[in-house]
Symmetry: C3
Subunit: 134 residues, 3 copies
Amino acid sequence: MVRRLRVHSPGQGLHEFTQSLSQLVSEAGLKEGLCTLFVQHTSASLVIQENADPSARRDLERWLSRLVAEGDELYTHTSEGSDDMPAHIKAALTSTSVAIPIIEGRLALGSWQGVFLWEHRRLHSERTVIVHIV
Amino acid sequence: MVRRLRVHSPGQGLHEFTQSLSQLVSEAGLKEGLCTLFVQHTSASLVIQENADPSARRDLERWLSRLVAEGDELYTHTSEGSDDMPAHIKAALTSTSVAIPIIEGRLALGSWQGVFLWEHRRLHSERTVIVHIV
Amino acid sequence: MVRRLRVHSPGQGLHEFTQSLSQLVSEAGLKEGLCTLFVQHTSASLVIQENADPSARRDLERWLSRLVAEGDELYTHTSEGSDDMPAHIKAALTSTSVAIPIIEGRLALGSWQGVFLWEHRRLHSERTVIVHIV
Protein backbone atom coordinates (compact mmCIF):
# COMPACT_ATOMS: atom_id res chain seq x y z
CA MET A 1 0.00 0.00 0.00
CA VAL A 2 1.09 3.58 -0.70
CA ARG A 3 -0.07 6.61 1.32
CA ARG A 4 0.66 10.32 1.34
CA LEU A 5 1.46 11.62 4.81
CA ARG A 6 1.29 15.34 5.57
CA VAL A 7 3.92 16.24 8.14
CA HIS A 8 3.67 19.47 10.11
CA SER A 9 6.87 21.44 9.71
CA PRO A 10 7.11 24.52 11.95
CA GLY A 11 10.47 25.88 10.81
CA GLN A 12 14.04 24.60 10.64
CA GLY A 13 14.87 21.52 12.70
CA LEU A 14 13.77 17.95 13.34
CA HIS A 15 10.03 17.30 13.59
CA GLU A 16 8.96 13.88 14.81
CA PHE A 17 6.15 11.94 13.12
CA THR A 18 6.75 8.44 14.51
CA GLN A 19 3.21 8.28 15.87
CA SER A 20 1.33 9.02 12.65
CA LEU A 21 3.65 6.64 10.80
CA SER A 22 3.05 3.87 13.36
CA GLN A 23 -0.67 4.33 12.90
CA LEU A 24 -0.36 3.82 9.13
CA VAL A 25 1.64 0.65 9.80
CA SER A 26 -1.09 -0.60 12.15
CA GLU A 27 -3.72 0.07 9.51
CA ALA A 28 -1.73 -1.92 6.96
CA GLY A 29 -2.19 -4.91 9.24
CA LEU A 30 0.99 -6.75 8.19
CA LYS A 31 2.79 -8.97 10.65
CA GLU A 32 6.11 -8.74 8.85
CA GLY A 33 7.21 -6.35 6.14
CA LEU A 34 9.01 -3.19 5.11
CA CYS A 35 7.98 0.43 5.43
CA THR A 36 9.76 2.80 3.01
CA LEU A 37 9.54 6.58 3.38
CA PHE A 38 10.25 9.12 0.67
CA VAL A 39 10.15 12.90 1.09
CA GLN A 40 8.97 14.74 -2.04
CA HIS A 41 11.19 17.79 -1.51
CA THR A 42 14.79 18.84 -2.17
CA SER A 43 15.07 21.17 0.83
CA ALA A 44 13.84 18.83 3.58
CA SER A 45 14.98 15.32 4.48
CA LEU A 46 14.31 12.27 6.64
CA VAL A 47 16.32 11.18 9.63
CA ILE A 48 16.01 8.53 12.31
CA GLN A 49 17.43 9.90 15.52
CA GLU A 50 17.21 10.01 19.29
CA ASN A 51 13.66 10.68 20.45
CA ALA A 52 14.40 10.95 24.17
CA ASP A 53 16.36 14.12 24.90
CA PRO A 54 15.37 17.13 22.70
CA SER A 55 18.85 18.63 23.22
CA ALA A 56 20.29 16.01 20.85
CA ARG A 57 18.15 17.18 17.93
CA ARG A 58 18.70 20.83 18.74
CA ASP A 59 22.44 20.22 18.56
CA LEU A 60 22.03 18.33 15.26
CA GLU A 61 20.25 21.33 13.74
CA ARG A 62 22.76 23.83 15.09
CA TRP A 63 25.78 21.79 14.03
CA LEU A 64 24.50 21.28 10.48
CA SER A 65 23.49 24.95 10.13
CA ARG A 66 26.99 25.99 11.14
CA LEU A 67 28.58 23.57 8.64
CA VAL A 68 26.31 24.63 5.80
CA ALA A 69 26.16 28.36 6.44
CA GLU A 70 23.90 30.92 4.82
CA GLY A 71 25.57 33.72 2.87
CA ASP A 72 28.50 31.60 1.69
CA GLU A 73 30.13 33.45 -1.21
CA LEU A 74 30.50 30.12 -3.02
CA TYR A 75 26.75 30.04 -3.78
CA THR A 76 25.54 31.14 -7.21
CA HIS A 77 22.02 29.71 -6.73
CA THR A 78 20.72 32.59 -4.62
CA SER A 79 17.47 33.71 -6.26
CA GLU A 80 15.19 31.68 -3.96
CA GLY A 81 16.38 33.14 -0.65
CA SER A 82 19.43 32.88 1.58
CA ASP A 83 18.23 29.65 3.20
CA ASP A 84 17.56 27.89 -0.12
CA MET A 85 21.00 26.72 -1.29
CA PRO A 86 22.03 25.65 2.26
CA ALA A 87 18.75 23.68 2.38
CA HIS A 88 19.62 21.77 -0.82
CA ILE A 89 23.08 20.93 0.54
CA LYS A 90 21.71 19.80 3.91
CA ALA A 91 19.16 17.59 2.14
CA ALA A 92 21.91 16.05 -0.03
CA LEU A 93 24.02 15.29 3.08
CA THR A 94 21.13 13.56 4.84
CA SER A 95 18.42 11.23 3.39
CA THR A 96 15.55 11.51 0.92
CA SER A 97 14.41 7.94 1.57
CA VAL A 98 14.59 5.61 4.55
CA ALA A 99 13.36 2.02 4.99
CA ILE A 100 12.25 0.50 8.31
CA PRO A 101 11.42 -3.22 8.68
CA ILE A 102 8.13 -4.26 10.27
CA ILE A 103 8.26 -7.02 12.90
CA GLU A 104 5.22 -8.35 14.79
CA GLY A 105 3.07 -5.71 13.17
CA ARG A 106 5.18 -2.76 14.32
CA LEU A 107 8.07 -0.63 13.06
CA ALA A 108 11.28 -2.34 14.18
CA LEU A 109 12.75 0.85 15.66
CA GLY A 110 15.41 0.66 18.35
CA SER A 111 14.56 1.79 21.90
CA TRP A 112 15.69 5.38 21.32
CA GLN A 113 14.84 5.80 17.66
CA GLY A 114 12.20 8.22 16.39
CA VAL A 115 11.37 9.14 12.78
CA PHE A 116 11.82 12.81 11.93
CA LEU A 117 11.29 15.20 9.10
CA TRP A 118 14.32 17.48 8.97
CA GLU A 119 13.14 20.84 7.73
CA HIS A 120 15.91 22.96 6.20
CA ARG A 121 13.92 26.05 5.23
CA ARG A 122 12.47 28.70 7.49
CA LEU A 123 9.05 29.19 5.94
CA HIS A 124 7.41 25.84 5.43
CA SER A 125 4.38 24.67 7.34
CA GLU A 126 3.82 21.22 5.84
CA ARG A 127 5.75 18.62 3.84
CA THR A 128 4.68 15.48 1.98
CA VAL A 129 6.16 12.11 2.83
CA ILE A 130 5.18 9.12 0.68
CA VAL A 131 4.87 5.91 2.71
CA HIS A 132 5.15 2.53 0.97
CA ILE A 133 4.29 -0.54 3.05
CA VAL A 134 4.71 -4.10 1.77
CA MET B 1 12.21 -7.08 -11.80
CA VAL B 2 15.92 -6.14 -11.64
CA ARG B 3 17.75 -4.23 -14.36
CA ARG B 4 21.25 -2.87 -14.86
CA LEU B 5 21.23 0.75 -15.98
CA ARG B 6 24.31 2.29 -17.54
CA VAL B 7 24.54 5.97 -16.61
CA HIS B 8 26.72 8.35 -18.59
CA SER B 9 29.13 10.11 -16.27
CA PRO B 10 31.14 12.90 -17.91
CA GLY B 11 33.28 13.96 -14.97
CA GLN B 12 32.67 15.22 -11.42
CA GLY B 13 29.20 16.52 -10.63
CA LEU B 14 25.53 15.55 -10.76
CA HIS B 15 24.32 13.76 -13.89
CA GLU B 16 20.58 13.32 -14.28
CA PHE B 17 19.05 10.03 -15.43
CA THR B 18 15.41 10.52 -14.44
CA GLN B 19 14.25 9.90 -17.99
CA SER B 20 15.88 6.50 -18.51
CA LEU B 21 14.72 5.45 -15.05
CA SER B 22 11.14 6.55 -15.78
CA GLN B 23 11.21 4.48 -18.94
CA LEU B 24 12.21 1.36 -16.96
CA VAL B 25 9.33 2.04 -14.58
CA SER B 26 6.93 2.35 -17.51
CA GLU B 27 8.17 -0.95 -18.90
CA ALA B 28 7.59 -2.65 -15.55
CA GLY B 29 3.91 -1.78 -15.96
CA LEU B 30 3.09 -1.60 -12.26
CA LYS B 31 0.38 0.74 -11.04
CA GLU B 32 1.73 0.91 -7.50
CA GLY B 33 5.09 -0.17 -6.17
CA LEU B 34 8.62 0.70 -5.15
CA CYS B 35 11.68 1.45 -7.26
CA THR B 36 14.99 0.94 -5.45
CA LEU B 37 18.28 2.15 -6.93
CA PHE B 38 21.74 0.93 -5.97
CA VAL B 39 25.02 2.25 -7.36
CA GLN B 40 27.73 -0.43 -7.66
CA HIS B 41 30.62 1.90 -6.86
CA THR B 42 32.35 3.39 -3.82
CA SER B 43 33.39 6.65 -5.50
CA ALA B 44 30.03 7.70 -6.97
CA SER B 45 26.63 8.07 -5.31
CA LEU B 46 22.93 8.71 -5.85
CA VAL B 47 21.08 11.89 -5.01
CA ILE B 48 17.61 13.26 -5.58
CA GLN B 49 17.86 16.98 -6.08
CA GLU B 50 16.50 20.02 -7.84
CA ASN B 51 16.19 19.44 -11.58
CA ALA B 52 15.14 22.96 -12.54
CA ASP B 53 18.04 25.37 -12.11
CA PRO B 54 21.49 23.88 -12.96
CA SER B 55 23.14 26.42 -10.64
CA ALA B 56 21.84 24.43 -7.64
CA ARG B 57 23.69 21.28 -8.64
CA ARG B 58 26.82 23.19 -9.58
CA ASP B 59 26.85 24.71 -6.09
CA LEU B 60 26.31 21.27 -4.54
CA GLU B 61 29.37 19.93 -6.35
CA ARG B 62 31.51 22.96 -5.50
CA TRP B 63 30.46 23.00 -1.85
CA LEU B 64 31.16 19.28 -1.34
CA SER B 65 34.50 19.50 -3.16
CA ARG B 66 35.56 22.32 -0.87
CA LEU B 67 34.50 20.37 2.25
CA VAL B 68 36.24 17.18 1.13
CA ALA B 69 39.39 18.65 -0.38
CA GLU B 70 42.04 16.89 -2.43
CA GLY B 71 45.56 16.83 -1.04
CA ASP B 72 44.49 16.72 2.61
CA GLU B 73 47.49 15.60 4.65
CA LEU B 74 45.18 13.39 6.71
CA TYR B 75 44.87 10.90 3.81
CA THR B 76 47.01 7.76 3.84
CA HIS B 77 45.04 6.04 1.04
CA THR B 78 46.67 7.95 -1.81
CA SER B 79 47.86 5.31 -4.29
CA GLU B 80 44.84 5.56 -6.60
CA GLY B 81 45.08 9.28 -7.36
CA SER B 82 44.42 12.56 -5.55
CA ASP B 83 40.68 12.44 -6.28
CA ASP B 84 40.25 8.88 -4.97
CA MET B 85 40.08 9.27 -1.19
CA PRO B 86 37.91 12.43 -1.44
CA ALA B 87 35.61 10.40 -3.71
CA HIS B 88 35.19 7.66 -1.09
CA ILE B 89 34.39 10.25 1.60
CA LYS B 90 31.89 12.06 -0.63
CA ALA B 91 30.20 8.76 -1.44
CA ALA B 92 29.98 7.89 2.28
CA LEU B 93 28.40 11.30 3.05
CA THR B 94 25.74 10.88 0.35
CA SER B 95 23.79 7.72 -0.67
CA THR B 96 24.57 4.35 -2.21
CA SER B 97 20.90 3.37 -2.40
CA VAL B 98 17.67 5.33 -2.76
CA ALA B 99 14.04 4.13 -2.93
CA ILE B 100 11.25 5.94 -4.78
CA PRO B 101 7.59 4.83 -4.52
CA ILE B 102 5.57 4.27 -7.70
CA ILE B 103 2.07 5.79 -7.83
CA GLU B 104 -0.28 5.53 -10.81
CA GLY B 105 2.44 3.83 -12.82
CA ARG B 106 4.99 6.60 -12.34
CA LEU B 107 7.84 7.54 -9.99
CA ALA B 108 6.29 9.59 -7.17
CA LEU B 109 8.85 12.38 -7.45
CA GLY B 110 8.03 15.89 -6.22
CA SER B 111 7.63 18.71 -8.73
CA TRP B 112 11.28 19.74 -8.59
CA GLN B 113 12.93 16.38 -7.96
CA GLY B 114 15.26 14.70 -10.44
CA VAL B 115 17.34 11.53 -9.97
CA PHE B 116 21.09 12.03 -10.32
CA LEU B 117 24.28 10.06 -10.34
CA TRP B 118 26.82 12.06 -8.36
CA GLU B 119 30.22 11.34 -9.87
CA HIS B 120 33.11 12.01 -7.51
CA ARG B 121 36.04 11.05 -9.75
CA ARG B 122 37.40 12.94 -12.72
CA LEU B 123 37.96 10.13 -15.19
CA HIS B 124 34.85 8.01 -15.42
CA SER B 125 32.62 7.77 -18.43
CA GLU B 126 29.97 5.33 -17.25
CA ARG B 127 28.61 3.91 -14.01
CA THR B 128 26.30 1.01 -13.23
CA VAL B 129 23.09 1.53 -11.27
CA ILE B 130 21.01 -1.54 -10.35
CA VAL B 131 17.28 -0.88 -10.47
CA HIS B 132 14.89 -3.09 -8.51
CA ILE B 133 11.16 -2.60 -9.16
CA VAL B 134 8.45 -4.40 -7.23
CA MET C 1 11.90 -12.82 5.67
CA VAL C 2 13.21 -10.63 8.51
CA ARG C 3 16.24 -11.50 10.64
CA ARG C 4 18.18 -9.85 13.45
CA LEU C 5 21.91 -9.81 12.79
CA ARG C 6 24.35 -9.20 15.64
CA VAL C 7 27.38 -7.31 14.35
CA HIS C 8 30.61 -7.26 16.32
CA SER C 9 31.70 -3.69 16.91
CA PRO C 10 35.14 -3.33 18.47
CA GLY C 11 35.30 0.45 18.81
CA GLN C 12 35.02 3.44 16.47
CA GLY C 13 35.43 2.77 12.75
CA LEU C 14 34.08 0.59 9.93
CA HIS C 15 33.45 -3.07 10.71
CA GLU C 16 32.67 -5.34 7.77
CA PHE C 17 29.88 -7.93 7.91
CA THR C 18 29.46 -8.74 4.21
CA GLN C 19 30.06 -12.43 4.86
CA SER C 20 27.37 -12.98 7.50
CA LEU C 21 24.94 -10.94 5.40
CA SER C 22 25.72 -12.99 2.29
CA GLN C 23 25.02 -16.15 4.24
CA LEU C 24 21.56 -14.85 5.25
CA VAL C 25 20.89 -14.08 1.59
CA SER C 26 21.94 -17.62 0.62
CA GLU C 27 19.61 -19.07 3.25
CA ALA C 28 16.71 -17.00 1.89
CA GLY C 29 17.16 -18.92 -1.38
CA LEU C 30 15.81 -16.17 -3.66
CA LYS C 31 17.12 -15.86 -7.19
CA GLU C 32 16.13 -12.21 -7.53
CA GLY C 33 15.10 -9.76 -4.83
CA LEU C 34 16.01 -6.96 -2.47
CA CYS C 35 17.91 -7.02 0.80
CA THR C 36 17.23 -4.04 3.07
CA LEU C 37 19.35 -3.34 6.14
CA PHE C 38 18.36 -1.20 9.09
CA VAL C 39 20.54 -0.39 12.10
CA GLN C 40 18.59 -0.04 15.36
CA HIS C 41 20.83 2.65 16.84
CA THR C 42 21.29 6.42 16.64
CA SER C 43 25.02 6.41 17.23
CA ALA C 44 26.08 3.83 14.62
CA SER C 45 25.33 3.67 10.90
CA LEU C 46 25.60 1.58 7.75
CA VAL C 47 27.94 2.23 4.85
CA ILE C 48 28.92 0.43 1.68
CA GLN C 49 32.55 1.13 0.98
CA GLU C 50 35.81 -0.18 -0.39
CA ASN C 51 36.65 -3.60 1.04
CA ALA C 52 40.10 -3.96 -0.51
CA ASP C 53 42.54 -1.52 1.07
CA PRO C 54 41.97 -0.97 4.84
CA SER C 55 43.64 2.46 4.57
CA ALA C 56 40.51 3.79 2.81
CA ARG C 57 38.26 3.01 5.77
CA ARG C 58 40.80 4.26 8.28
CA ASP C 59 40.88 7.58 6.42
CA LEU C 60 37.07 7.69 6.35
CA GLU C 61 36.96 7.31 10.13
CA ARG C 62 39.70 9.88 10.72
CA TRP C 63 38.20 12.42 8.31
CA LEU C 64 34.73 12.18 9.82
CA SER C 65 36.07 12.34 13.38
CA ARG C 66 37.93 15.53 12.52
CA LEU C 67 34.81 17.09 10.91
CA VAL C 68 32.58 16.13 13.84
CA ALA C 69 34.93 16.80 16.72
CA GLU C 70 34.47 15.92 20.36
CA GLY C 71 34.37 18.78 22.87
CA ASP C 72 32.75 21.25 20.47
CA GLU C 73 31.37 24.11 22.58
CA LEU C 74 28.24 24.10 20.41
CA TYR C 75 27.03 20.87 22.07
CA THR C 76 24.44 21.09 24.84
CA HIS C 77 23.66 17.33 24.81
CA THR C 78 26.71 16.27 26.81
CA SER C 79 25.40 14.09 29.63
CA GLU C 80 26.08 10.76 27.88
CA GLY C 81 29.80 11.25 27.28
CA SER C 82 32.02 13.31 25.00
CA ASP C 83 31.67 10.85 22.09
CA ASP C 84 27.84 10.77 22.24
CA MET C 85 26.76 13.95 20.46
CA PRO C 86 29.44 13.54 17.74
CA ALA C 87 28.11 9.97 17.29
CA HIS C 88 24.55 11.23 16.68
CA ILE C 89 25.79 13.76 14.12
CA LYS C 90 27.95 11.18 12.33
CA ALA C 91 24.99 8.80 12.18
CA ALA C 92 22.76 11.55 10.74
CA LEU C 93 25.36 12.34 8.05
CA THR C 94 25.63 8.69 6.98
CA SER C 95 22.86 6.04 6.66
CA THR C 96 20.47 4.23 8.98
CA SER C 97 19.13 2.03 6.18
CA VAL C 98 20.60 0.67 2.95
CA ALA C 99 19.07 -1.55 0.25
CA ILE C 100 21.02 -3.97 -1.94
CA PRO C 101 19.42 -5.84 -4.86
CA ILE C 102 19.82 -9.61 -5.13
CA ILE C 103 20.77 -11.01 -8.55
CA GLU C 104 21.31 -14.70 -9.28
CA GLY C 105 20.90 -15.51 -5.61
CA ARG C 106 23.62 -13.12 -4.44
CA LEU C 107 23.98 -9.54 -3.23
CA ALA C 108 24.58 -7.39 -6.33
CA LEU C 109 27.60 -5.63 -4.85
CA GLY C 110 30.22 -4.06 -7.11
CA SER C 111 33.70 -5.60 -7.27
CA TRP C 112 35.10 -3.41 -4.50
CA GLN C 113 32.03 -3.00 -2.33
CA GLY C 114 31.74 -4.36 1.20
CA VAL C 115 28.96 -3.81 3.75
CA PHE C 116 30.07 -2.14 6.98
CA LEU C 117 28.72 -1.14 10.34
CA TRP C 118 30.15 2.28 11.12
CA GLU C 119 30.55 2.48 14.88
CA HIS C 120 30.66 6.05 16.20
CA ARG C 121 31.04 5.34 19.93
CA ARG C 122 34.08 4.04 21.75
CA LEU C 123 32.52 1.51 24.09
CA HIS C 124 30.22 -0.75 22.14
CA SER C 125 30.85 -4.40 21.52
CA GLU C 126 27.80 -5.39 19.47
CA ARG C 127 25.10 -3.71 17.41
CA THR C 128 21.81 -4.98 15.96
CA VAL C 129 21.11 -4.78 12.24
CA ILE C 130 17.66 -5.84 11.01
CA VAL C 131 17.79 -7.58 7.64
CA HIS C 132 14.68 -7.72 5.44
CA ILE C 133 14.86 -9.94 2.34
CA VAL C 134 12.09 -10.13 -0.23
